[in-house]
Each structure stands twice: as C-alpha cells, then as structure tokens.
C-alpha cells in the first residue's frame, strides 16, 4: 500500500483550519485546560474520580490536585455564595468563568463561534464539605484513591464515576432553543410548594435555570465580538460572514434554529458547554442521530437556495471544532492511545419504525465530509447498518473503507443492537421508555455503547472488570496465586482471602466442578467492583453536580434531581467485561490440559503459571496450540463461551447504585487489555504475564485461524445468536469487535462488492458493532521506522481510532501482530 489516505476537496478555508489544527503544540492558539478558583484557601478544581478509569494518570493525582489550583485564575463569587446549594454554586461559577473570564475567540476563516471551552473550575465546596470529601477520597487507610489503586494493582480492573458517555437532548436545544428549556424548568419550579422550593428540588431547579441561561449570555458576547471583527475586516466576503455569524448568535442557541447554519451553530454551542460544565473534554459525549434531527434544517436551507458547498463547509468547521477538544491536555505525553480516548460519536443512517431505512441526502453529505476530512480523529462517525440498508449506502461505505487504512467510521448493526436494548428494557422494567415504537432511535456513545438518546444516563465506561481475575481466584481458592505489588512504589500487597473459598482446585474431580467454582468467583468479582464503584458514585452524587448537562437530559427537571443524582429517566451503569476471550480460552485450556488430555495435573498448571511458564514451555505450547479457542466458529468452544456470557450478563442487573441506577453488561476494553496484561498473572491459555489480554469481544490474538467470517459468527453466537429466527443480545451496551482485512480484499470494484457481502452477512450473523482496519504489515512496520512520514496514519484500536505513531510501541506491535494473522 505504502501511501496513507490524504484529505481532499477541501476549500482553502478548511484546508488552512485543518493544517493549523495539526500544528499542535506549535500553534499560537489552543484550547488547553484553563484552571479557575474561588480563591478560598481550601479550594480545589480537580475531581480525580473522573480519571479513576485512566490508570495511567494515578501517579499524577497529587500533582494535579495541588498544581492546578496554584496556577488558577481567581473568579469573584458573590456574597452568600456558600449559603447556596453546591449545584447553584457550580452553575453560577461556571457561568461567570466561561462568560466573563475565558476569552472569546474566532479563528481566521472559521464559520462557527465557540472556540475556547476547556476549563477546570473550582469545585465550589465549603471548608466543611471539602474536609468530608477529602477524607473520603484521600484517607491513607480507607480512602477511595487508595482502594482504587490497589484494586487496579491487583488486577481486578478499574472503576470510577467519570464524565460524558451519553447523548444529551441536543435535538430539543436545536429545534426549540434554550428559552424553551429555561421556561420548562421555571414552570416546574413555580409549581413547587414553598417547602420544596426551599429544599433540594428547588435548589436544583434554580441551578439549572442559571445554567440554561449560560448559552444566551455567552452567545451575546460572541455576537458582539463578531461585530467588532466585522468592523475591522477589510475583505468584504469575510466581513459578510462575520456579520452573519453575529446574527446567528443573536438567535441560537436561545431561540429555535431556523436554517441549517443556525442549527449547526446551535448544536456546537450546546455541545461545547457540556464539556465546560463537566470540566472534561468530550469523553464519549455524543450527538445521537445527527442526520435525522438536522435534516429538516438542511432541507429548508437547500429549498431556500443556499449553496450546498457552503453548507458542507459549515459541517467541516464543526469537524475542526470537535477536534479542538483534544487540546485539553495537548502537552501531556501520549501513551497507549490516551489521546484517542475521547469519542464524540455521531450516528448516521439506520432504521426507523418497522425496519424502514432512514438514510437521506444529509447522510451522504456527512459521508462526503468524513471522506474529505479524514484522516482526522474527531468526531467519530458511526454508520448504522441493517437488513434494509440501501445498496447506494453500502457501496459508499465499502468505497470509503477500501480507501482508508482504518475505516473512517464505526459500523453499528441495528438488529443485534436493538435486541440488546429491548433486553435491558425487560430486565430493568423500562418497557414504557424503551420499546419497539422508539428503540430504533437509539444511538451509540463513546466508542460503540448503545443507549437511548436525550433521557439515558448509562455511564458506559465507568466500571471495567477483568474476568481473568476470577480464574486466578479459582486456582487460588479465593486468594491470589502470585504476589501483587504497588505499581508505583513496588511494595507488595498482602495476599489475603479476597474471594470465597471455593475449594482446593487440585481436589476437583472434573471440569464441571472447576467451572462451578469459577462462577462463584465471577459473582464475587462483580459484587466487589460494584461495592467500590458505589462508593465513588455516592460521592459524586453528594459533591459533583452538573446542572447544565441536567438541562439536556429528560427526567432531571421533572424529578428536580441532577443527572449525577439519578435524575435521568433511564438510569444504568455499565460493567464492561474485559478479557473475555483470554478467560474463555483459559477455561477451555484447563478443561483440555487437566481433564480431557491429562497433559498435566492442576497442581502442575498452577506452578507453571506461578513460574510465568518458564520451565514449562512444552505445556505452554500445548495450551497455546492444542487447546480449543473461542473465535473459530467451533461449536463446542463457542458453547462454553456462550454459557459464560449468559451467566455474567444475567448476574449484573442484580446490582444497583445508591442513586438508583441498574448495572448492565457490555464489552469494551479501551486500552486496558494492553496495560493490565503487565499486571495479571500468566493465564492457562498459554499467555505469559506481560503479554496482552484479549480485547473486548474479539478472539485472542491470532486465535481466529478460520478467518473473519468464522470470527464474526463466533461473536454473534456468544452474544446469544438467534432464537426462533429472532436476534438475541445479552449485552445491551454492545460489544466492541475489531477485524483487520488485507488490502487485497478491496483491491478493485469486484472485490469491494465482496466486502459488501461480508457486511451483509455480518448484519445476519455478527455482533453489535464492527471496526475494520485495512492494513498490511509492511505499511505498519514502515510507519514504526519512519513515524514522521505517517503522522496521520489512523488505525482502529478498539472502538476508537488512534494515530498509529502516537500510541505506545507495545500497542503498535500488538496491532502488527493482529494484522499478521489476517488470513485473506
């Protein structure tokens, strides 16, 4: 292949903006985090809990906690500030910060207002509140930080109440305006009894009323700035644009948008301010079905005779703006795709009621924009496919996949996804909110996590559980089988009885006995992670409201509760199962080695794992090469995988948070499958400590020796397959599935047609979401050697794209290894 995908058909304006963005740290302007403080001696502006799911940041907590406040700008707070509720304080503080302290800026030629928005705002806590919060988090013996770090160091996984990962009700903001949202909240406030007005509900609604006005106040500033720039502008074309931008800002987002330009401007402003409110840049904060709710505006603008190329440029400006979210930590080192971890997802195409396809002209315009702008990381488009997807769309999708190294979008599969959402409606008794009449309007957040839109708080990456730990606990009768150390200081943890005593594994007579013990340990690790997460969730509920975001999530105004307090109509927390294939393959290996083939005893196997397979190379080779594996469309292996899937997926919804969220299962492993591979002990499938774990729902590396179709069939089977011809899906959140195809598959038109058949087959047999890399080993190796020539080479990692040259060497090697096993 040799050459990487280049952007094309860009106007000089967009080309300049795109090139400027890629100058990175060399840029004069950026959107780096700006810290702000209330000025009290105890103030803090860093909520480390939102980073508990990013273990790479653990060593920096003390620095962030003290450093960010030291360099912070002081924002004046009014008298009686601390008599207000925390939500009111935050609403007011953030409003003042973004309107009066953060500079309003417009880049040359940019068509959208709203440039600088990443802030660390004061947590606005009183001295007493700070003391309670600090004790809960920082206590050296039982604080949440210590518990979280030890939990991770011992290989259980990670969890913490993080931000984003939802689809706010953007369609309401764009079509009805914040005036409507404000009035709606005010009406609800006015209807409260006096005692409610003075209580929690009243305080929350007042905070939301403040927040609902922030977009208007900021828009006024931008309108004035555009007028000022217009007055100074010599070029009449640009002058007219600036005046138009000023007019836009006088309408939206306060009033309903009346045309496409206003609608996109309104959408960006609304979206940007969520990131400001959460003090977190774009973590899975997603747009929902953008080609559906923007379509009426697009159609009107086209009917009014507006220039389609200008409408395209407006969207391309939106693309640039979404990418500037990354500036937040522009100077922080890059490791394992952290810089690729934000995911502002947008859904394109997909089915409507009764399976009817909803692709429209705007869908195709979005695809043109993606094609012309890529490679670029954000936003992350997700094309929804189903059995009635039009050929024209499929052809366009296949062409774009063929021309890119990693498909410039994710693919989501409606039938399997919808089956999962209807399944969760059933177990959470939410059929009045998720049912065949509306489920097709679902969207995905972050990477591929399926949720409903505008009323759903699913917290999709807050809880990440390593299944493999349960294998170790079964082998250790509830204890670790090796010593685990503090990753930062190297101090060993005590090996204590953590899981239940499920018996000495050497005494198990058959595999069924082992499996029964393993399931008990699975139950334990689920309960264990829930206990830890619920502690953090309760703290967030108490101290970290997001009143602006709450304006955009249905249920919050109605209940008078913040979205962090269970205000949303639909409330879940997702447990993302990590290391699925490594765990299943380990079970298969134990069955094969110890019970079926008697290649070793249980005691020998444990010793081999403790020795990291050193001195046991022959046994390791048997485990790797002879034991069955998941991912080959092998009925027996996949049946075990399916049984385990069903078990854990049914166990999860038995748990709830203190704010009334139900736990639900999903499979996504971000970059944990890389880093936790260095923590977790060697596994019975032949993996050494230090080698990667399996990724999300994908088979273990190289295990899919029967090719992509067999791999996909296995994925569909373990999600539940089909029952009486109906799709089954036990993972409502969805499951990340990545495959790599060799470029020869898409070499010419005839071959692209074959890719289309593959996708159509995937609709029938596969999982919920698919990422495709079209890469050959030579290109990747060359990129490792000459990174400067491949700065823009995008690869799919697991539900997200990352720049190949910016990810760690280990992950690069892993991707190369994955590709080397592609069989086509």
């Amino acid at each position: 292949m040799g050459k990487i995908k280049q952007p094309k058909n860009l106007s000089s304006r967009i080309k300049w903006l795109r090139d400027y963005y890629f100058e990175g740290t060399a840029r004069e302007w950026n959107n780096e985090f700006r810290p702000f403080t209330s000025g009290t001696p105890w103030d803090s502006n860093y909520n480390e809990m939102t980073y508990y799911v990013v273990p790479e940041t653990y060593p920096f907590f003390p620095t962030f906690n003290s450093g960010l406040i030291q360099g912070a700008y002081k924002v004046d707070t009014p008298k009686g500030f601390y008599d207000l509720s925390i939500a009111e304080r935050r609403a007011l503080f953030i409003q003042r910060t973004i309107v009066d302290y953060v500079p309003q800026e417009i880049l040359p030629g940019d068509l959208l207002c709203g440039a600088t928005f990443n802030i660390y705002a004061s947590l606005c806590l009183s001295k007493k509140e700070t003391a309670i919060r600090n004790k809960a988090i920082l206590d050296k013996k039982s604080g949440l930080r210590k518990r979280t770090i030890e939990f991770h160091d011992r290989g259980f996984g990670n969890c913490g109440p993080t931000s984003g990962h939802l689809q706010p009700g953007y369609a309401v903001a764009v079509t009805k305006g914040f005036e409507y949202i404000y009035n709606d909240i005010k009406e609800k406030y006015d209807d409260l009894s006096q005692s409610d007005k003075d209580g929690k509900k009243g305080h929350q609604l007042k905070a939301m009323m403040t927040s609902a006005q922030t977009p208007r106040l900021l828009a006024e500033k931008y309108a004035a700035l555009c007028e000022k720039f217009a007055a100074e502008e010599k070029d009449p074309t640009r002058q007219a644009e600036l005046l138009k931008m000023s007019e836009n800002m006088k309408v939206v987002p306060w009033k309903p948008a009346t045309n496409f330009y206003e609608a996109v401007q309104s959408l960006w402003f609304t979206h940007m301010l969520v990131m400001t409110d959460e003090n977190y840049p774009g973590p899975g904060l997603s747009f929902g079905r953008i080609d559906q709710y923007l379509y009426p505006f697009y159609k009107k603008s086209i009917d009014d005779g507006e220039d389609p190329t200008f409408l395209k440029e407006i969207l391309e400006c939106l693309w640039i703006h979404c990418n500037t979210a990354y500036d937040a930590m522009i100077r922080v080192g890059m490791n394992q795709g952290i810089t690729a971890g934000y995911g502002q997802l947008m859904m394109l195409s997909g089915m409507g009621k009764d399976g009817k396809d909803l692709t429209n002209d705007l869908t195709y315009l979005f695809l043109d924009v993606i094609d012309d702008m890529s490679p670029i990381l954000e936003p992350k488009p997700n094309v929804r496919l189903h059995s009635n997807s039009p050929e024209k769309l499929l052809d366009r999708v296949c062409d774009m996949i063929a021309d890119s190294q990693g498909a410039p979008f994710l693919l989501n599969f409606d039938e399997r996804s919808i089956a999962g959402l209807l399944h969760e409606a059933k177990f959470a008794k939410l059929q009045h909110l998720i049912n065949p009449d509306n489920v097709f309007d679902y969207g995905s957040v972050g990477c591929l996590e399926n949720t409903m839109v505008g009323n759903d708080r699913s917290q999709t990456v807050d809880v990440n559980l390593n299944f493999l730990k349960a294998i170790e606990l079964t082998l250790g009768n509830g204890k670790d089988i090796v010593d685990y150390k503090d990753q930062l200081w190297g101090k060993p943890y005590k090996n204590i009885q953590m899981g239940p005593s499920t018996g000495d594994p050497c005494s198990f007579k058959d595999f069924d006995e082992f499996y029964a013990a393993f399931l008990k340990q699975i139950k334990f690790i689920i309960k264990n992670i829930v206990d830890l997460y619920n502690t953090g969730d309760a703290l967030r509920r108490q101290f970290f409201p997001t009143p602006y975001l709450s304006c955009l999530v249905k249920g919050c105004a109605e209940s008078g509760k913040d979205v962090t307090q269970g205000g949303a109509e639909i409330k879940f927390v997702t447990i993302e199962g990590v290391t699925f294939a490594t765990t299943v393959d380990s079970l298969l290996a134990i069955k094969y080695l110890v019970y079926d083939e008697k290649a070793c005893t249980m005691s020998e196997l444990i010793k081999a794992l403790q020795a990291n397979w050193v001195g046991y190379e022959k046994l390791q080779a048997i485990a790797k090469n002879k034991a069955p594996k998941y991912g080959r469309d092998d009925e027996d292996a996949d049946l075990l995988a399916q049984n385990f899937m069903k078990f854990w997926a049914n166990e999860v919804p038995n748990y709830h948070t203190t704010s009334g969220h139900t736990y639900r299962p999903g499979m996504l492993s971000w970059n944990y499958w890389v880093s936790d591979g260095y923590i977790l002990v060697a596994s019975p499938d032949g993996r050494k400590r230090g080698q990667f774990l399996s990724n999300a729902i994908c088979p273990s590396n190289g295990a899919d020796s029967n090719g992509p179709t067999a791999n996909s069939n296995s994925v569909g089977t373990v999600l539940g397959g089909k029952e009486n011809g109906e799709y089954v899906n036990w993972l409502p959140n969805g499951a990340s599935h990545t495959i790599t195809l060799n470029p020869s598959l898409v070499a010419d038109t005839g071959h692209k047609e074959k890719l289309k058949y593959f996708l159509k087959g995937y609709v029938k047999n596969g999982g919920t979401a698919l990422q495709i890399n079209i890469l050959d080993v030579e290109t990747l190796k060359d990129a490792q050697k000459n990174p400067e020539e491949y700065r823009h080479l995008l690869v799919r990692v697991t539900g997200y794209n990352a720049y190949f040259t910016s990810i760690g060497r280990e992950l690069q090697n892993e991707i190369i290894e994955r590709e080397s096993h592609a069989t086509i």
Binding site: A621, K624, T709, S744, K756, Y757, F758, G761
Partner: protein, 304 residues
C-alpha cells in the same frame, strides 16, 4: 462416505463469484511444475514440518511408531517411505510445527462445515469444490454437491478436466458453475509440463459447451511455460471454435507457495520467479481478447 481433503478456506474471494467457502480435495492426476498446492497432488496425507513453529522438544520422534522421523542439524525430516500417514506426530506436536496435510472427513460433517458461512454468500457466492483434482473423488464430490444444491447453495467446481466425461455428467445437475483449467494448447508441451496429454481436456471442454453449463476458463500465466503469445493464441483459437465461456481469466503467477515445496523437500524450478510484469500480462490479455472478447486477467502483477 468420506472425502480426503487438504483444507477449507472460508471467505475466499478468488474461487468464483461472490464470497465463497472453498474445500480443497487431496490428490491430483496432473503434475504441473508450477502447482500452487503441491501438497494436494499426492493422494496420501503427508506430515509437513514448520521450522518457525518448532520448539525442539522431539515429541514427534517419540510419538512415531514407524521410525519415520529423523532429527538432524537441519531440523525434522520424514522418511516418506516409512511414514504410514497415521498423523500421530502431528497430533502430539505441542506447537503445531508438524501438520498432517490431508484428512478424511465424512461427507455430512464436511457439508455442515461448508455451510457455516451461508449468511455471507449473498446472491452470487457459495461453495467451491477445488483441489487437487476434485473429480478424482467424484463419488463423494457428487454427493457433497447434491447436499449443497438441495440446501440452495451455489456450487462451483474447479477442475482440470482430465477424466471420463461421464463423471462430469453425474455431478452437473448439482453444479452452478465450472471453473475449467486450460493451461497449454500444444499437446507435446502439455505432456511435458503437466505429465498428461490434453486431448481429453479439450474434448471435455467441447462437451461442456454443448451442455450449456455456466463456464469460466482459467489459464495460469507462468513464465517460460504458458506465457507465450503462441500458447495464448492457440488456446484462444480453440476456444473460439469450441464455443465461448462466460469469462476467460488469465491468472498471474506468484511464488508465494515456495515454502510449501521446501517443506515437502522438493527443489522447485519456479521458486525464483517474481511477479509478472503488468505490461506483459496486459499484452497477453489484449491478445486473447482479439479472439475471445471475454478474456481478462487477475492476480498481483509488478508495475516495474
């Protein structure tokens, strides 16, 4: 009823229209010097050794009860006269460094394996029975084709056509497409390059044309063997006279299979041959098209 097969390749894009699952039958009655699947020529299953996978544990040697395994400084070698094709070495090898090329599989089991990708076949794809020479196992191949056809699967066979036409007559009711090899036109050269005469092959082609079955001709383009203007024109004139197929594919040679020959201990005369030049292949295709309009080429070529 059992078939002896070499391998099953799923999601194949090169064995007929659409996405296909191809089953390679073992055993062939032609011995073409350039053969891409040399391990498919012999009817008997053979063990193969892969240096890169070997961990040097000698388990194979102890597991062989026929004394057919030799371990020396070059690694593992097989005394193919002593080898009984029992597969014990391959079964016990911990790292799969020994593979037994060829296995017997019951036709029902094979059928069940081949339909696993039905969802991906689409309107054009299906199952291709290839080889070796699939028609060397005509009885089981016909039964397999019948099972597939009854299931509504598109069936193609890939054959060199050097056998009694009655075998084709039996399988034809269950076959949607025949991929038919015409390699060399000159009978003397055909004999020297493939060790068989091409008379029967050419006659069977004429009969197939009369039968109206859907036909694709495939001609491997091999340097210093089949890639002469004379050969292509000779084949083209024959095809014109006998009757046109739906397409005539000139398949570019590559030497990616050379390690297979090394593993079989065969010195391969084509191992150093690189990719064909694009200009050469385009020239041959243009030449073919002057007589047979549906000629085309496929496969990787060199642009320099």
């Amino acid at each position: 009823m059992d078939a002896t097969i070499l391998d099953i390749q799923r999601m194949s894009t090169e064995d007929g229209p659409g996405l296909r699952t191809t089953v390679f039958f073992k055993g062939c009655n032609l011995v073409c010097g350039w053969c891409h699947n040399p391990e498919s020529i012999n009817f008997k299953p053979d063990p193969n050794w892969f240096l890169s996978k070997c961990i040097g544990c000698s388990t194979c040697k102890t597991s062989c009860s026929h004394g057919a395994i030799i371990r020396n400084e070059d690694g593992i070698q097989f005394d193919r006269k002593k080898c009984q094709s029992c597969g014990a070495c391959a079964k016990r090898c911990p790292s799969n460094a020994i593979e037994l090329k060829g296995k017997k599989i019951h036709v029902t089991k094979l059928f069940n394996e081949l339909i696993k990708d039905e969802a991906y076949f689409g309107p054009e794809g299906g199952v291709t029975l290839s080889g070796g020479e699939v028609m060397m196992q005509a009885e089981v191949a016909t039964e397999l084709a019948r099972l597939l056809k009854n299931k509504g699967i598109n069936v193609a066979i890939d054959t060199a056509g050097c056998y009694d036409y009655r075998l084709l007559e039996k399988i034809m009711p269950y076959v949607d497409l025949i991929l038919y090899d015409l390699k060399v036109f000159n009978p003397i050269e055909h004999m020297s390059l493939t060790r068989v005469d091409n008379k029967l092959i050419l006659e069977n082609y004429k009969r197939l044309i009369v039968s109206k079955v859907r036909l694709w001709i495939r001609t491997p383009i091999i340097q210093n063997a089949t890639d002469t203007d004379e050969n292509i024109l000779g084949l083209a004139e024959f095809i014109k006279e006998a009757g046109y197929p739906e397409r005539w594919e000139l398949c570019a040679f590559n030497n990616l299979c050379r390690s297979k020959y090394e593993r079989l201990g065969i010195e391969w005369q084509y191992k150093e041959y690189g990719l064909l030049k694009r200009t050469r292949l385009e020239h041959l295709t243009a030449l073919a098209m002057t007589v047979v309009p549906m000629a085309m080429y496929s496969g990787a070529v060199a642009d320099i």
